[in-house]
């Protein structure tokens, strides 16, 4: 019996964002946008979904009078990501 893949993570852009954030301590929205080549609008929507799921923490603040959004993966996010990778490995029998 295969585990069901987490629908929150099983989406191209959300998975890309989570894979980036899992490798770093925290990243600014601009960094994520640059690495994923996503549009700001689409990325905002997906970041919000990950935040609502409790997988990432989003901090909005001002830096030199400009708004700055910083994202960081949460322990729940790490657990979900690990489960997702394990489920993928089961599918592929890695």
């Amino acid at each position: 019996m295969f585990k069901e893949l987490d629908p929150i993570l099983h989406s191209q852009l959300r998975l890309a964002v989570m894979s980036l954030l899992i490798s770093v301590k925290e990243a600014e929205f601009t960094f994520i946008r640059e690495k994923t080549n996503a549009t700001a609008g689409n990325l905002s929507v997906q970041v919000q979904k990950l935040k609502d799921a409790g997988y990432i923490e989003v901090v909005k603040q001002f830096k030199d009078n400009y708004p700055q959004t910083t994202c960081k993966v949460t322990p729940e996010g790490i657990k979900a990501f690990e489960d997702y990778v394990k489920a993928l490995q089961e599918y592929l029998k890695v």
């Binding site: 191209q12 894979s19 980036l20 301590k25 990243a27 600014e28 960094f31 690495k35 592929l92």
Partner: protein
């Protein structure tokens, strides 16, 4: 990146994860500036100290030339503050490397104090070279950057050699140490950034 609800296969999911992790990890924030500043400052101070001791009658006061390192400390504080402001991502690698150098700074201050009170000045140089090697080698391992690893090992070899150089020439050992450990890697970082 395409729209979010694209169908992903297990294979493409794994490939995507791998590619994004690589993109994050291959990021190289080190541009070599601080390695170059410290390398040149220590090299200039060592050479000036030796020249003043050997060719002038200034005597022990020539050690005052090391006050120049305070200028490097001020520059480092200013530079780190500015660099932090420009950062768009914080990696675990950067954080660990920062702590390695903080540990080095504290250890150097303590060993200088202990040696000044209890040891001899020639012993101080052996310990300085030993301590130069630690953060340099560790940073090379963490960043997988060979010039730093070679630099760290060179400092340790020079530390062992210093035991046999119990004269004022011991000061000159700092020059090959900082050239190989910091100045060459510093320019290598610059070249790498330029290439990228």
């Amino acid at each position: 990146m395409e729209q979010n609800e694209d169908q992903l296969t297990a294979h493409s999911s794994l490939a995507l994860i791998e590619s994004m992790i690589n993109k994050a990890q291959n990021r190289f924030s080190e541009n070599g500036t601080l390695y170059l500043v410290w390398g040149w400052v220590v090299a200039i101070c060592s050479l000036s100290h030796y020249i003043m001791l050997t060719f002038t009658d200034i005597g022990p006061k020539s050690g005052m030339v090391w006050i120049l390192t305070w200028g490097a400390v001020v520059f480092q504080i200013y530079y780190s503050f500015k660099h932090k402001k420009q950062e768009t991502v914080k990696t675990y690698t950067d954080e660990i490397i920062n702590y390695v150098w903080v540990t080095f700074g504290i250890s150097m201050a303590l060993v200088s104090f202990i040696m000044a009170k209890l040891g001899t000045w020639t012993m101080l140089y052996a310990f300085i070279l030993l301590f130069y090697g630690i953060p340099t080698f560790l940073s090379g391992v963490i960043m997988r950057f060979k010039p730093l690893k070679i630099g760290g090992i060179t400092c340790w070899i020079l530390s062992a050699i210093s035991v046999y150089v119990q004269s004022r020439e011991i000061i000159l050992l700092l020059i090959p140490a900082v050239v190989i450990a910091w100045i060459i890697p510093g320019y290598s970082f610059r070249a790498r950034i330029k290439k990228a």
